[in-house]
Subunit: 407 residues, 2 copies
């Protein structure tokens, strides 16, 4: 079996399901193209002897029973859904990588000592309904059915109806398997670190936590000509000082801290009126939970002080607070040992984006393998990776699964 | 004749013409309510013996011939049009103040030595058609007919058609009278300096020049999680540094410099994307033409340098450049002498807003009298001034016109 050929075939086949005229992919949870893709993956699993099952909600599992320790399962996989008009790698490359690595091992070494499973998760992106990680959260038994009970998509279709239409239903009880000894997910980086550093592989040791804020400054809207500077309470001046201070400080701290002020909406937003109000957002991420809290506190304290000095009212609303998730040291070390032995061009790194692995890692020993994203582009039809880098990623996945399931 | 009573009557009468249900005024050039207001002013002028004339474009003049020097004219007045949903003082208070002061003088002292004229100018605001100062520019012979030849209002009505519908037309040639020895305009401050400094009168010695810019910074839009700070070209970070530097510097300089960044539009303006682009505006005003150019050059040089340091492309578009207009030292001194003698609570100040006087001052000796604006509010139905302050303003206007026309 030729690993690269199989990978190429599978990526092309799965990309034809849900492709849109812009060259992108739209394959949302419980749509027909979504089910078609899961059925394609099921057929591929069965093509090399895996037994397949869907769970209640539509996660797909393909399994090769272990010869010596069948009750110890080594699992690998990613998610099958896409964002709206997304690229051809996010999610499905991980599924194809796991499938192809597993097939390669079975073809070359036969039945593994431990059971080997590939999972094609139902949903990760949160792009159809306002709930993300539906696949992984059901897999590890932490999904909250109440949150999707009344959810509808943009067309007003109900989550529950769409799920049942495709033959699935809520899991009657949240159960958790105790046979899983390792989970390894492969994914595109969705950033440009590997490309810029000329590496082909990222071994992910942590997924960054993130805190998102809405900040509203209220001053006084005034005539831009008739109001002396000393009389003003200029909301945009306050914001500029805060953003400048915060980013200067963040740049001093450096990696893995990132800080983004992506949205700015002043009022009335007119050239000749001193802005009386401004709303802006802050997105801060770090791999260390305590440091993330400490740094954001320093920033919000600074903001509060600047607001007081400038006579501005400030409200700071923390509306997303996701803790960083460390990967398993042991699985990271296993992957790194194989990467060293195989002379892969790799670096150990964290992920700034969210992944199914952050849901799975608190429950089962987990780590991730990244391959480079050209130009760091993702969630876009232009999302791409050199094919040779994809192949390197699948080879390292095979090496790792060999170590975990066959040794 | 009771000055305060007359003023009150006139303000109420003229405010009923073009008043809207929100309590504001909308009386745009060449509308029916505009003509009705001019006809009301004409009738008021005639009520105390003024002879009245309209010029070609609709400026209204009321004249009392001078007994000794009829060829020397002392002129006073303001504009009759309003902004959309404006207040009840901007423009028309000046017309009523001039009318009432003139009537008071004629009632008390009879015929003046020099001719005394009140002008009710056709248009100042630029609120209906994209051209401001139509009244004063025609009065002093600097209007450019080509600029309004094809102008239409928001409903697609043509400037030319609307002008002719009300019985007016382009002035066949731009002429300039040589009899005018002084022009004095009264207006609300539209700022809060007088209120905050507990003064009732502002004597305007200069109208600030203003320069307006659009600034566009282009960097690179990136994923807020996966792009390390050191890889970023964050347009909002650049903007924050520029605005903060510029306003810090402006605050060190202080009055009469004002600097406003009123509009900010980042792209894509989303919490989790590093902003790849931002457009923002700068409005800078000062009474000294040379200093205004020098200061804005320092700021734009600083911006260009910050952009280069941060790897951002910058474009700086100066799309408005109005020079400061000094008032006549002699007229300012005349007003100030009367203010001192009459123990008015006054200060000499500049105007940060634009006025007809800036068009007239380069041609005839000109100055302005301001009365306070409550809360600095203008161009808004809440625009207001204590009635006792309005009366003080009219009294000082009468004192000034007495000095200029009767002495």
């Amino acid at each position: 079996m030729e690993l690269a050929t199989k990978l190429d075939e599978r990526l092309k086949a799965v990309s034809s399901i849900g492709s849109d005229p812009t060259g992108g992919m739209t394959r949302l949870l419980y749509t027909d193209s979504w089910l078609e893709a899961q059925k394609y993956v099921k057929q591929q699993m069965e093509s090399f002897g895996m037994t397949t099952t869907f769970d209640d909600v539509g996660n797909l599992f393909g399994r090769i029973e272990g010869a010596e320790n069948p009750d110890e399962t080594i699992m690998t996989g990613s998610h099958i859904d896409t964002v709206v008009n997304g690229g051809k790698l996010d999610g499905q490359f991980g599924v194809c990588a796991s499938l192809t690595a597993a097939e390669y091992l079975v073809a070359k070494y036969g039945q593994p000592k431990r059971s080997l499973e590939v999972i094609s998760m139902a949903e990760e992106e949160g792009s159809r309904f306002p709930f993300a990680f539906w696949g992984s959260k059901n897999f590890v038994g932490v999904a909250n059915n109440d949150e999707v009970q009344d959810a509808t998509d943009a067309d007003g279709k109900k989550f529950v109806d769409e799920m049942r239409r495709q033959g699935f239903d809520f899991s009657p009880k949240q159960t958790r398997r105790d046979d899983i000894k390792a989970f390894v997910e492969e994914h595109i980086e969705q950033g440009s670190i590997l490309e810029q550093e000329h590496e082909q592989i990222g071994i992910v040791n942590s997924i960054a936590g993130q805190r998102r804020y809405d900040i509203v400054l209220k001053g006084e809207a005034n005539h831009a000509g008739t109001t002396p500077l000393s009389y003003r309470h200029d909301a945009v001046y306050g914001m500029a000082k805060m953003i400048n201070n915060a980013l200067d400080k963040a740049h001093q701290v450096g990696d893995p801290l990132v800080l983004t002020f992506g949205k700015v909406v002043p009022k009335p937003n007119t050239v000749n009126v001193v802005p009386g109000e401004v709303l802006f957002t802050m997105d801060c991420r770090h791999t260390d939970a305590e440091y993330l809290v400490q740094f954001t506190k320093e920033i919000t304290d600074m903001m509060t002080q600047v607001a007081a000095e400038m006579g501005l009212d400030i409200s700071i609303d923390l509306w997303m607070d996701e803790k960083p998730v460390p990967m398993s040291d042991q699985i990271v070390k296993t992957i790194e040992d194989k990467a060293k032995a195989g002379k892969y061009k790799y670096r150990v790194m964290h992920s700034g984006a969210g992944h199914d692995s952050q849901i799975i890692a608190p429950v089962y020993p987990t780590a991730m393998i990244f391959v480079p994203s050209i130009g760091g582009i993702s969630h876009n039809p232009a999302e791409n990776t050199k094919f040779e880098d994809l192949v390197e990623g699948v080879k390292l996945m095979a090496d790792t699964l060999y170590e975990l399931a066959y040794k």
